[in-house]
Amino acid sequence: MKKSLLFGLAGLALLIAVPPFLKSYGIYLFSTWLVYVIANMGLNLTVGYAGQKSLGHAAFFGIGAYTVAILMQHGVSFWIGLPTAMLGCFVIGLVLGFPALRVQTIYLAFATLGFNTAVWLVLRNEEWLTGGTFGINNIGRPELLGLSLESPLAYYYFVLGIAVVLSALMWKLLHSPWGKAFTALRDNPIRAESLGIHIQTYTLLSFAIGAVYAGIAGALFASLVQFIEPAPFAVGTSFMMYLMVVVGGPGYFFGPLLGTAVGVLLPEWLRFAQAWYLFVFGAAVVLLMLWLPDGLLSIPDRIKARRQARDASAARAANAAKLGVQA
């Protein structure tokens, strides 16, 4: 635990100290990365810790973004829009959890996919509400205690602050009895039931809480990019979010940080490959999965397992030698 805290603080220090030296595109990139980290933290809870299948996470991202944008269009403050988005996502997330009680694994994945498609269709077609394919323009940025957040750097620190708070809350949740219940639900739902763990309740909650995180991320995203249209909230983004969580390491606390870096920052760094950069990215993901099916953060566990296996066979060999027998 202490090592992760140290890493976390060191990382945080870098995230605070470095951006003032970056150009505004760099700051924008890191802000985007943070926004997706928040969304993926939610998905990591649903998929990584509670073992559910969710290929529709971008729908909540979109619901959060559009809720805030539409309300702000009508003069409602961001600070009212945000909790509204959170509440809406919580409720809709609960509703999405109900299919999870009825259907298993791959069918659940497809049900969430269908849900995302439905939401995207509404976002794209209901022009009177969402602006359709023309989207919503001129989304403002909130003020925080009288301070303007218009500048890229100010908004970046705002997003960073929220990300830190949300991470701390997630950490607390995962280390509370709820965290154990989620893990039990993931690893052995039948045993969990026989121990009095209400797997239905925890299933619904895992979807709802995950959705709230995505909703908050969406709200932040709206004010970050200041123009939204339906494309970033389609199934393709849900796939990418799922990819980021799995690549980072599902069920590992810092998984979303790494995975989102791979999903958001890596394609940027690959731009030197020009037209081929996404090909390289896709190939890299395939190779990464082949090498590390449990994600990047499974590396320490694998090293430990290999060391244990080596120690065990060394011990066996030593014992055999003592007995004068071939190992």
Binding site: P177, T183, E193, S194, G196, T201
Partner: protein, 253 residues
């Protein structure tokens, strides 16, 4: 006269044309260790799973401390004080042994909302450690349950069922696949657990399905013999050993 902890009346369950359980009735008294034996296919596991809410019986009535529990789910049964172990290992492989035990009882502490803010161990560390010592697995208490040997995992599995101090524990073949040297240890443990409960409540009752005859005869107060979905005999180990019908059908000469 003590009221029975578990009362099963005329339990029936069919799968299509096959009647797995055809009218089984028995009672388990408080503090009793009740064995269930019988050839494979005699309906023991189906009966078990019906009592435990895993399967819905076609007919019959099951009562726990006088309350009708026939239609209740496994979660509801656990809340009312029923625990179980599984024939195939069902521990949480990625959690530590201690965490396995903690999660086995945490849902009995407080409410859903209070649990969100409770400390990670729900105050159950002491109790978990006590069971760990009783089961003599302190040396692996911090390892991930999935890394233990089969026998050790079996012990964790059994310990988990006892964490919430249920009134009734159903054990499905606790000795299956276990090294013969460990069987005696399991028997001793179960006898210890049957004597008292930490909270001072009267001893719990156990229902044990097993094929290991020596284990069953030595451990149980009474034994029920099931053959082809019905009850052939219920009695003390001595009575069952002397029962000619049982000897012919199952125990052999």
């Amino acid at each position: 006269m003590n009221a029975p902890v578990l009362k099963v009346r005329d339990l029936k369950k069919s799968y299509g044309a096959i009647q797995a359980v055809g009218g089984v009735s028995f009672e388990v008294m408080p503090g009793e260790i009740f064995g269930v034996i019988g050839p494979n296919g005699s309906g023991k596991t189906t009966m078990f799973n019906s009592v435990l809410g895993q399967i819905r019986p076609d007919a019959g009535r099951i009562e726990l401390n006088g309350e009708d529990i026939t239609e209740l789910s496994p979660v509801e049964l656990n809340r009312r004080g029923v625990g179980r172990t599984f024939q195939t290992l069902q521990v949480f492989g990625k959690m530590s042994v201690r965490d396995n035990l903690i999660v086995a009882a945490q849902e009995h502490q407080g409410s859903l909302w209070s649990r969100m803010f409770a400390p990670g161990d729900s105050g159950l560390s002491a109790k978990a450690d006590a069971l760990i010592d009783q089961f003599r697995i302190r040396h692996v208490a911090d390892k991930k349950a999935g890394e233990l040997s089969y026998g050790q995992q079996k012990l964790v599995d059994i310990a988990m069922a006892f964490m919430s101090e249920p009134d009734l524990v159903l054990l499905d073949e606790p000795c299956a696949g276990v090294n013969p040297s460990l069987v005696g240890g399991i028997s001793t443990l179960l006898k210890e657990l049957n004597k008292t409960r930490a909270s001072g409540k009267k001893p719990g009752s156990f229902v044990v399905i097993e094929h290991n005859m020596d284990f069953v005869m030595d451990l149980c107060h009474r034994i029920m013999v099931m053959v082809e979905g019905t009850v052939m005999a219920i009695g003390t180990p001595a009575e069952i050993r002397a029962n000619k019908q049982v000897l012919d059908a199952y125990l052999g000469n």
